[in-house]
């Protein structure tokens, strides 16, 4: 492709990359999209068919004055936009920017216009970076970088060529840019792409090593919270049902302390809020009092859950949770939360063991939760009766006016029980076996939803099951409460975390045991018809894992992470340095010993060793200085050559190297013709090739003849043939003279 064309094309592509990232970051008005698209199309057409378009478009080309008026109008429009329409700086500025882009695209004539175009595209890219934290920004950034490297190199080449043409006016018209040397090979693109990749590597390096101020500075479009159900003050029975189809992601949970396959075996309960009061239709919390948790150092808010004894059991379960923006302030965690660690100002907890933020956050938050799940005390496992504290009896045994049939049912179920625990498991088993799971339940219509579930329909979902179990247990005097949260079952094998979606919303039961505390029991049978893993599932989970990594590594890359990285590098560096130091000291000790022995052996008796050593040092220093000076005094006049001369010089040197491989070395004082003569005598097969290359070289190198692309191709081909020849044929023995 001719240089000039490639340069224009690459400039326009650069602008297009910047513009594309902008359109994805902010919703532009359609008319602006149309105008910009038209400008891009026209610019591209002008590149491909410069003559045709300029002829046909000659009448339509607007004058400079028109464009100036257009720009003034656009500027006025910017103020109107800012003050009246969008009333925000960023969108108004971006609209103005797009108009500037259109202007520049339509007037790409001077070198200056191209530079303006680059500046505009760079601003567009930066603006979209400020507007978004989405992962799609990464590919656009990379594309922009690659095209940017192309464009800058081409810009430089074009400029250099123009300077050359401008300087040498006496060059015959045959050397116009079109026919002359410049052309692009595929190698150009490889080189530039490698350069871009290297630049990208450096970018990453800087990204991870230079401190930053914050994240999502202008990010406000992302603040749309997901609407959740089941975590408010009062929850009507049957509200979870409608969300059981919603696949939007609520959070992602990693269990860093657990490894390997043990993760996937069991579903993870993520507890949200507990309710203790049921009025026949809805659940509420009669204990809304909250207290602030004290912050122990490093942002950890710890709690001893009211009603539980401090656990002396094994380590708490650690969960790293990335919570999407929700409309609730609840912090989720596996039962039962003991502490959370995150970048929070304060954390509150209520008497049911739920953690809350003071208000819902409208950004994605990341925190670490620690939970310890109580096991059932062995004595309580078999106890036939338990003594409950007053507080528990007061708040966790209340039942609404329950249908006598349900009371009968409860008694009937727990009849054979000999212990409290057995009664609980009998109720559990009864619910699991006698009822059918179905989401197809008319919600919020029945006045007695529990009666419907337990006695007539016998189908329902988690809320029904859980409510039924709580009511049944309370009827027979066992304190229990309803808990809402999520049941994480979807394991992302690519990223190694649970993906929790809206449809994973769940409700289950906690039963109280005086010594063991609250025990989690889920009376709901598993939902039927679980979807098997398909390729689609795999693809989405891979995508989701990538998105999480993007978020973790780039968007939420914090100073603490940076510190960790730096520390890791420093520790690695220390190790390397220590290793090097050891090797070096060992080597230098050996070298010193050798020198010492040498000096001892060399020194005639009577002369002190130090004198000899000093002498050696002086000689070494002198040799070093001499070498340095000689190196410096070599004149370098390579830079006076033009690009074409460089090309033929490179070709010729290449050829000489090939001949040297064949055993025919060109002495520095030999002229090309002498060398050619030598070739004729000693390697006659190669002579025609060497001759043609030498001719070209002499003509261009010393005659400054114009070099055409075909000549270069032919010469390159010749040199390649010579290389092949030098590999296949043995050199003729050196002639006697």
């Amino acid at each position: 492709m001719p240089l000039d064309q490639a340069f224009r094309l690459s400039s326009i592509l650069l602008a297009a990359a910047g513009f594309a990232s902008l359109t994805l970051a902010i919703a532009l008005p359609p008319w602006l999209l149309v105008v910009a698209g038209g400008a891009f199309t026209m610019a591209l057409l002008r590149v491909r068919h410069p003559a045709a378009i300029s002829d046909t478009m000659h009448h339509f080309r607007l004058s400079a004055l028109t464009w100036n008026i257009f720009l003034l109008l656009a500027f006025a429009g910017f103020w109107i936009d800012l003050l009246l329409v969008s009333q925000e700086v960023l969108p108004a500025g971006i609209h103005f920017l797009v108009l500037l882009l259109v202007n520049k695209l339509s007037n790409l004539d001077l070198r200056r216009d191209f530079l303006h175009l680059y500046a505009i595209s760079l601003i567009a890219l930066l603006a979209s970076a400020a507007l978004t934290t989405q992962i799609w920004y990464a590919p656009f950034f990379f594309i922009y970088l690659i095209i940017g490297v192309w464009t800058l190199l081409l810009h430089h080449l074009v400029q250099e060529q123009e300077e050359q043409v401008g300087l040498s006016d006496h060059v015959p018209p045959a050397t116009t840019p079109g026919t002359c040397f410049p052309r692009l090979t595929i190698r150009f693109f490889w080189t530039t792409n490698v350069m871009a990749a290297v630049a990208f590597g450096f970018t990453l390096l800087f990204f991870f090593s230079i401190p930053r101020v914050g994240v999502g500075f202008f990010q406000h479009d992302q603040g749309e919270s997901l609407r959740t159900t089941g975590f408010s003050e009062q929850v009507d029975l049957g509200v979870i049902g409608p969300v059981k189809q919603d696949p939007s992601i609520v959070m992602r949970v990693e269990l860093p302390d657990r490894v390997g396959h043990e993760l996937r075996q069991e579903p993870l309960y993520l507890r949200g809020v507990a309710y203790n009061r049921y009025d026949g239709k809805s659940w509420s919390n009669s204990l809304p009092q909250r207290r602030m948790l004290t912050e122990v150092p490093e942002g950890t808010f710890s709690l001893r859950t009211p009603g539980t004894k401090p656990q002396a059991t094994a380590r708490p379960l650690r969960q790293d949770i990335l919570l999407e923006p929700l409309d609730t302030a609840v912090l989720f965690g596996a039962p039962l939360l003991t502490s959370v660690k995150g970048n929070f100002l304060s954390v509150q907890s209520d008497l049911t063991g739920s953690f809350h933020l003071p208000y819902p956050l409208h950004t994605r938050i990341q925190y670490t939760a620690y939970s310890s799940s109580p096991g059932l005390n062995t004595t309580e496992k078999t106890a036939s009766a338990l003594l409950y504290p007053d507080f528990i009896l007061r708040h966790y045994l209340h039942t609404p006016d329950v249908n006598p049939q349900i009371v009968d049912l409860a008694r009937q179920i727990t009849q054979p029980a000999t212990s409290v625990m057995q009664a609980v498991s009998l109720v559990h088993t009864h619910l699991l076996t006698s009822y059918r799971y179905s989401l197809d339940v008319p919600s919020l219509q029945s006045s007695h939803p529990l009666d419907d579930f337990l006695l007539t329909r016998k189908t329902g979902y988690c809320e029904h099951y859980a409510t039924a179990m709580v009511v049944l247990l309370r009827t027979v005097g066992i304190p229990a409460r309803l808990v809402t949260g999520f049941l994480a079952t979807e394991w992302n094998e690519f990223g190694g975390y649970y993906t929790v979606r809206q449809r994973d919303a769940h409700a289950w039961v906690e039963v109280y045991f005086p010594q063991s505390g609250w025990l989690t029991i889920d009376p709901t049978p598993p939902a039927p018809g679980a979807v098997g893993p398909t390729w689609w599932h795999a693809a989405t989970s891979a995508m989701d894992s990538m998105r999480l990594k993007w978020d973790r590594l780039f968007v939420h890359y914090s100073a603490h992470d940076q510190f960790t990285v730096v520390q890791g590098i420093r520790e690695g560096g220390e190790a390397v340095r220590a290793g090097l130091y050891e090797t070096m000291s060992a080597l230098s000790a050996q070298a010193l010993a050798i020198i010492d022995r040498l000096v001892t052996n060399l020194t005639p008796a009577g002369i002190p060793h130090h004198a000899v050593m000093l002498l050696l040092l002086i000689i070494a220093a002198y040799a070093g200085i001499t070498l340095l000076r000689r190196h410096k005094s070599t004149p370098s006049r390579q830079n006076t050559c033009s690009a074409q001369q460089q090309t033929v010089i490179a070709l010729y040197t290449d050829m000489v190297h090939s001949c040297a491989r064949q055993g025919i070395v060109k002495p520095a004082s030999n002229t090309p013709q002498e060398f050619l003569h030598e070739i004729r005598e000693r390697w006659s097969e190669a002579w025609p090739i060497v001759e043609s290359v030498t001719q070209l070289y002499a003509r261009v190198r010393f005659g400054e003849a114009p070099l055409t692309a075909e000549e270069v191709t032919t010469a390159e081909h010749d040199v390649r043939r010579l290389r092949v020849l030098s590999r296949s044929v043995r050199a003729a023995p050196r002639s006697s003279h």
């Binding site: 004082s669 010393f702 400054e704």
Partner: protein
Amino acid sequence: MNSSQSIKLLQDNIAQVIKGKSRVIELAVVCLLARGHLLIEDVPGVGKTTLAHSLARSLDCSFKRIQFTSDLLPSDIVGISVFNRQKQSFEFIPGPLFAHIVLADEINRTTPKTQSSLLEAMSEAQISVDNQTYPLHQPFMVIATQNPAEYHGTFPLPESQLDRFLMRLRIGYPTPDEERKVLERPQSLHPASDLQPVLTAQHILDLQALVEKVRIDDSLMDYLLAIVQATRQADVLSLGVSTRGALALTKAAKALALVRDRTYCLPEDIKELAPAVLSHRVMPNRAQGARARSVEQAEGIIHDLLESVPVPV
């Protein structure tokens, strides 16, 4: 007729007489085109004078021959002022120097005084007699022949005089085959006498103007200067090449490029011409032996120096 054709014609014309010496002929033509003067030094009887004759005959311009002898005086060469009785004034009678081509035969047989009378003519193409300056014809070329210094009855040319010759040539013996051709030629006439002129003086002036336009790359300038510098720093030489010598090499290289039908110089041009252009301008050390000023030795030294100077790539 373009430049290469006319040069070819000239060379071919001379080659009719001087058999098997195309290189010498080429150098003589180079000397002519570079506005230089030619010194032909060799043993008697190898065709020095014939070469000069042939060159002069091939050009349609005036030609004078001066046989240098030990009693030749400067006024015999440049001319003399004679009192004209009718006009009652001195009148300048031009000498044989007033010609396009002057053959100074056996120049080292005359005294240094007479030899020096050529200095102004050769460097400035003019002569001064009695406070009067007379320009010489253009083109003007002195072709001098001489026998090697150690032959009897010779006065060696002073350095300043030698420096004014663009190049010094040796002709050398012809090969037996070539020599046979010379012998088989009819001996009745002087071989050069039946040569027809092929170029006019104007042709030569045009060609000389073309030489000025030949391109010489910066790197070649560096190469040339490196060679000159090498002669000045060489231990085996007590006198290196002067700036005039460097200038002469540049001019000669350009002329050779034109002769070989190029518009630009190549490293070959310089390397090939260096022995002929530089060898008579350098003075080997006394330590180099009795034949201190022999042509072969000086040329050998220049050859050796050339092998130590890298050719630009």
